[in-house]
């Protein structure tokens, strides 16, 4: 166990593992996402209340889901950075923050466009939407803080503290639809209950959520590889890798 933990902290070891995983993550991600979206757009039945506008759900839910779970992953990595000073954890936070930013923006955008035909408005300052907007600002803050501090170790510590302070927003997003009266509908998927929609609707949704997770895995590996190369460029193994022309 400790040996695995120790290995996981080695940028060189991670670089090799990521290179082997990436083709599978990319192929699996594209396959599942395309299957989910095509099924959802063309074959899933129309919603009796919302009509065809509900088909936005097949990208809205995966992006919103990922936006939150990427932040939770970043918070775990922030704890690892602060407690064990593991370099890879900091590399992870720095690499995936822009991905989280894009996913949060997409979930807000698709939500706003879906809101217009469903609620009659693009935006309301209700709990779910506002807390998601705060998540967008948190991702922006993490990226800005990291770029503002030149020293790598100080930046890693400052960013970790900010990520951990911001994690309080995640349960607020999650439970906002239950704690307050909001326009937003309750969660489609719950761990303890059956999905609140028929299988012809939730199966494609599940496929696109899984596809997005795999694509995120590919993006995280790729961006972490880039960050590792930048940080370790003076080491022997990076020189060997670069000169071998394996790009």
């Amino acid at each position: 166990m400790w040996q695995f933990f120790h290995k996981l902290g080695s940028p060189k070891w991670f670089f090799g593992i990521a290179a082997r995983l990436m083709p599978w993550l990319l192929a699996g991600g594209i396959l599942l996402l395309v299957a989910g979206i095509v099924w959802g757009l063309a074959f899933a039945p129309k919603d009796y209340l919302q009509g065809n506008s509900y088909r936005i759900i097949f990208i809205h839910v995966p992006t919103a889901f990922l936006a939150q779970s990427v932040y939770v992953m970043m918070a775990v990595a922030a704890v690892v950075t602060l407690v064990w000073r593991m370099k890879l954890a900091d590399v992870f936070v720095k690499s995936v923050a822009p991905v989280g930013l894009v996913l949060t923006f997409l979930s807000l955008f698709t939500g706003a466009v879906w809101g217009k035909p469903t609620w009659g408005t693009w935006w309301v300052w209700d709990a779910r939407l506002t807390s998601m907007l705060i998540l967008l600002f948190l991702y922006g803050g993490v990226i800005a803080l990291d770029r503002a501090i030149n020293d790598e170790k100080s930046a890693a510590r400052a960013v970790s503290v900010l990520v951990l302070v911001g994690v309080v927003n995640i349960p607020i997003i999650q439970y906002s639809v239950e704690w307050w009266n909001t326009l937003h509908q309750p969660s489609t998927f719950k761990l303890t209950e059956k999905p609140s929609m028929p299988a012809e609707m939730w199966v494609p949704l599940l496929l696109s959520v899984l596809g997005m997770y795999l694509l995120f895995g590919w993006l995280a590996c790729l961006r972490m590889q880039t960050e590792i190369l930048l940080r370790e460029q003076r080491t022997r193994w990076v020189k060997d890798y670069v000169l071998a022309g394996r790009g």
Binding site: A42, R55, I56, I59, K116, P117, T226
Partner: protein
């Protein structure tokens, strides 16, 4: 299929512009992010390779200068 024709699929009973603009933004940003990340990784590899080659070139030049200097005759006064 949930639609009778391709045009019905496109129009989606008036909801087409909402649905398609969401999917357009999604694919544009996701593909953009993936391509940007891929190109950045390749650019970093290229920059590292050029840095290493430049450094090894300088070292070769320095070594050549140093060896040339070892053969330089030093004028010593014959008085």
């Amino acid at each position: 299929m949930a639609f009778d024709s391709l045009s019905a699929f496109w129009v989606m009973e008036g909801h087409g512009p909402y649905v398609w603009s969401c999917y357009a933004a999604f694919f544009l940003l996701m593909i953009g992010l993936m391509v940007w990340s891929w190109r950045r990784r390749n650019a970093v590899i290229e920059a590292c390779r050029r840095g290493i080659e430049l450094k090894s070139g300088q070292q070769t030049q320095q070594a050549a200068t140093a060896s040339a200097a070892s053969f330089t005759r030093v004028k010593v006064s014959q008085d």
